[in-house]
């Protein structure tokens, strides 16, 4: 990888799980074919997955840095590469380049409160982050998670979410857009629920990932709650090819999402020209 940053390492497909009721989201656990190629990473980083002959696409790492045996990626089936990924079977070998990009500033979170706000299938790197925080629970203050989807069947990692609901050291609020038979949790959009939950901004950090419309309406709520732009983080996506700051397409103003991001603070984004 260091000699040739375009050269993918080989990963073996392990557990495959269909995550959503529309079957468009699948998680893949990938094992290193050559264990000596295993690498460390931090929550928020991404990798380029590739199927030779089909192409490459970037995906956030959904597993925790502490899950040493595999890397998990949750893939939304939408284009050529993601469709090919959906046809993978256990035991097949695919390519991976990474870890790429920066990460959530977990070192800054130490000793302080963290609120994680997610929407739809953008919960992937947030799962990584949450597991990282929970594994070092005593190092952080209050942890609040607000996660919403259009309907219950579109929430990622449901089994884990329902388990985490029982934890006393974590405030987890799940919400769906509309009433749904059998859903006895919250109903409402993420921005409104955030306002209602009102996580404390005193010594607090917010991490927001979701569809652009959710981010757009959640950021003002966080500002109202007193979170300064330096303490609000989000992760961006752009079309990418090289992932290493050379191919020239994922920039927002002078910043490349692949090497300067994908994680940016709202303070950084406010200095960039394009709508993000």
């Amino acid at each position: 990888m260091r000699d040739n940053p375009y050269w993918p390492i080989e990963m073996v497909v392990g557990r495959i799980k269909v995550e959503s009721d529309d079957r468009m989201l699948r998680s893949f656990d990938l094992r290193f074919k050559d264990p000596s190629q295993r690498f460390d990473f931090l929550p928020g980083q991404f990798c380029q997955l590739s199927i030779l002959g089909k192409g490459e696409a970037p995906f956030g790492i959904a597993s925790s840095p502490d899950e040493k045996d595999f890397l998990r990626f949750t893939v939304n089936r939408v284009g050529v590469v993601t469709t090919a990924l959906h046809y993978l079977k256990e035991g097949e070998v695919i390519g991976l380049r990474g870890p790429l990009g920066n990460h959530y500033p977990v070192e800054k979170f130490r000793g302080e409160d963290v609120v994680i706000i997610g929407g739809g299938f953008a919960f992937t790197t947030l799962r990584s982050l949450l597991l990282y925080l929970l594994a070092r629970r005593e190092e952080f203050g209050q942890i609040t998670v607000i996660y919403g989807a259009r309907r219950p069947g579109l929430l990622l990692y449901r089994d884990e979410l329902f388990q985490w609901e029982g934890r006393s050291d974590l405030r987890l609020i799940l919400t769906v857009d509309k009433e749904f038979p059998g859903w006895n949790r919250k109903v409402g959009f993420v921005p409104a629920v955030t306002k209602e939950v009102a996580p404390s901004s005193k010594k607090g950090w917010a991490v927001v990932c979701g569809p652009p419309i959710m981010i757009k309406y959640t950021l003002p709520v966080l500002s109202e709650l007193g979170f300064p732009p330096e303490r609000i983080y989000t992760s961006l996506e752009r079309r990418m090819k090289c992932g290493i700051g050379k191919c020239g397409r994922c920039n927002i103003g002078p910043k490349y999402v692949c090497i300067d991001g994908p994680v940016f603070s709202l303070a950084e984004l406010e200095r960039l020209p394009e709508p993000y």
Binding site: N4, P5, Y6, S50, E56, R238, C247, G248, N251, P254
Partner: protein, 319 residues
């Protein structure tokens, strides 16, 4: 400084060919020099494609990575040599280094030649290059009529030329003639704009009507990016047997088109602004130098006659 008589040029070429796969200018671009002495013209295409091919195999699925050979470029103009230097910076600096570029560029040698007769479309002097700029060259030639003055610019160039016998010491007359040629050429290049000013003005022009007005003319054909000595954007594609990279352009709508249907730069206006901002603002911010060498190719070949120099003057007036 040494002198090469013109009758000895073929000997120099043959001698360089013993160490390098030697490319020289043709009308359309740089091509391997076969058995003729190259005509020292400025080709339509800059030499970037020799080190950064328009189509390049990154690796074959059977694991083979193509090996690079030491390439010599003979007769490179100062603008183009500087363009290669800018590409080298982009490809080798930052958190990752592009090994394909680096292997080709570093194993190569660049033999530049001064421009006795700058063209009306030349504006390399805006960027501190000038018709006899030697930056990015290993050896530099100046045509003084009956021969060339040869200067070693880099250690690699010095090592190479020191073992080539048929060179003479230049006479005072030769040096005087060189000075006259340089002065005459430089006098033809007037009215430059400081790229630092362009950078600063662009800071204020994100929402300017300039971009929309330009977009009314621009075809978004990307010819300027293909002919630009510093444009480096590329695509990576999987073919049947190999993963390849292919030149791409920020002027194409598919460049940033996302699978979801969203495109952050959907209009020609957005993409033109990206190209100009990248070259004259973002790259300047990063390296204190613009991503332009004033070669004039985009001015000469634009099918709708957009003139970058006019745009720069407008930017200066309106920013």
């Amino acid at each position: 400084m040494r002198k090469l008589l013109k009758k000895d040029l073929p000997r120099l070429i043959e001698w360089l060919k013993t160490s390098y796969l030697l490319y020289g200018p043709t009308e359309y671009g740089f091509a391997p020099i076969a058995d003729h002495t190259p005509e020292l013209i400025t080709p339509i295409r800059p030499p970037k494609g020799i080190f950064f091919p328009q189509y390049q195999v990154l690796f074959r699925y059977d694991g083979k990575v193509p090996k690079s050979k030491g390439i010599g470029l003979f007769g490179v103009r100062p603008c183009d040599a500087k363009g290669l230097l800018i590409l080298n910076r982009i490809f080798t600096q930052g958190p990752y280094r592009d090994n394909y570029w680096q292997d080709q560029y570093q194993s190569g040698i660049i033999i530049g030649i001064g421009c006795n007769q700058p063209q009306p479309t030349c504006f390399c002097h805006w960027f501190g290059i000038g018709p006899f700029g030697k930056e990015g060259c290993d050896l530099f030639l100046t045509d003084i009529g009956d021969g060339f003055l040869i200067e070693a610019v880099s250690k690699k160039g010095e090592d190479l030329i020191s073992s080539f016998d048929p060179l003479l010491p230049p006479t005072d007359q030769d040096l005087k003639r060189r000075d006259e040629i340089v002065a005459r050429a430089e006098a033809q290049l007037k009215d430059g704009i400081d790229p630092k000013l362009i950078k600063e003005r662009l800071d204020n022009l994100w929402e300017s009507p300039i971009w929309g007005e330009l977009a009314e003319r621009c075809l978004s054909c990307a010819l300027c990016t293909y002919l630009c000595p510093t444009c480096h954007c590329f695509d990576i594609q999987d073919e049947e047997k190999a993963r390849v990279r292919i030149w791409d352009s920020c002027l194409f709508p598919l460049f940033t088109q996302e699978a979801s249907g969203h495109n952050p730069r959907p209009e020609i206006r957005d993409r033109l602004r990206q190209r100009i901002m990248h070259k004259f603002n973002y790259l300047y911010l990063q390296y204190k130098e613009a991503g332009c060498v004033g070669c004039g190719r985009c001015v000469i070949f634009c099918p709708v006659n957009l003139d970058l120099r006019e745009l720069m003057r407008r930017i200066l007036d309106e920013g």
